[in-house]
């Protein structure tokens, strides 16, 4: 493995850790806000990053919990996705990358990315279809603005995962050639 690749991978691991910690803080903040808002509805005016869903809550509790569940699930899945990326990057051996662990992790990344994209798309459509949508939905867009990007990324990663699975097969065959 060249020094350049080594350095690049160390950099990638550091970036993945930073993103993971950021996403964990976001998901944690949202969960804590959610628990607080269950006991004290006044808290809904000032959720994570000044998100105000009080109007939505006042009009329909069901809609509030539905939308907030989407926000929570998506943010938790994003954090978990980066956890898988960190595990993959830290266990990847560039000298011999074709093994079943790496193949499984890449496949899992593609599934999670697709799920996040699909959920983001569903959440966006749900918010759009809310009756009398006079809510401030712009502030919600930050949680699912990139649904198409996630779906596209999932497709690309799935192709890579399929190629990788074939690579693992070839590696096994090579290992069993005497």
């Amino acid at each position: 493995m060249s020094k350049k690749n080594n350095l690049l991978f160390k950099g990638l691991i550091i970036i993945a850790w930073i993103i993971f910690i950021g996403l964990c803080i976001e998901a944690g903040g949202l969960i804590v806000n959610f628990i607080f808002s269950l006991y004290n509805p006044e808290f809904i005016q000032n959720l994570y990053q000044k998100l105000d869903l009080s109007e939505l809550y006042n009009r329909s509790n069901w809609d509030f919990f539905r939308i907030y569940s989407f926000i929570l699930i998506i943010s938790m899945m994003k954090a978990y996705l980066f956890y898988i990326v960190i595990r993959l990057l830290s266990k990847l051996n560039l000298e011999k990358p074709f093994n079943s662990f790496v193949s499984k992790q890449i496949t899992r990344i593609s599934y999670y990315t697709f799920s996040i994209g699909l959920l983001s798309f569903l959440a966006r459509q749900t918010v759009k279809s809310l009756p009398n949508s006079g809510y401030e939905i712009d502030q919600l867009n930050q949680f699912w603005a990139d649904s198409q990007a996630y779906i596209l990324m999932a497709a690309v990663i799935y192709v890579i995962a399929t190629i990788f699975a074939k690579g693992v097969e070839l590696q096994n065959e090579n290992d069993l050639t005497v």
Binding site: N172, E173, L176, T177, V178
Partner: protein
Amino acid sequence: MPIIVNLDVMMAKRKMSLNELSEKVELTLSNLSILKTGKAKAIRFSTLEAVCKALDCQPGDILEYVPE
């Protein structure tokens, strides 16, 4: 797999141990063991040549086709 490896039979006929064969054909014990137990998916011509030379036999003595 319908290809059977009769390496152990030939080794027994020549009264040769796995260690001895491994030294003669310059293959690791683990690779020879993979070949002997039939776990190998392929064999290089160079390996086959070395084994045949060491055991003084023909490829047909080591490999056998048995229809499933």
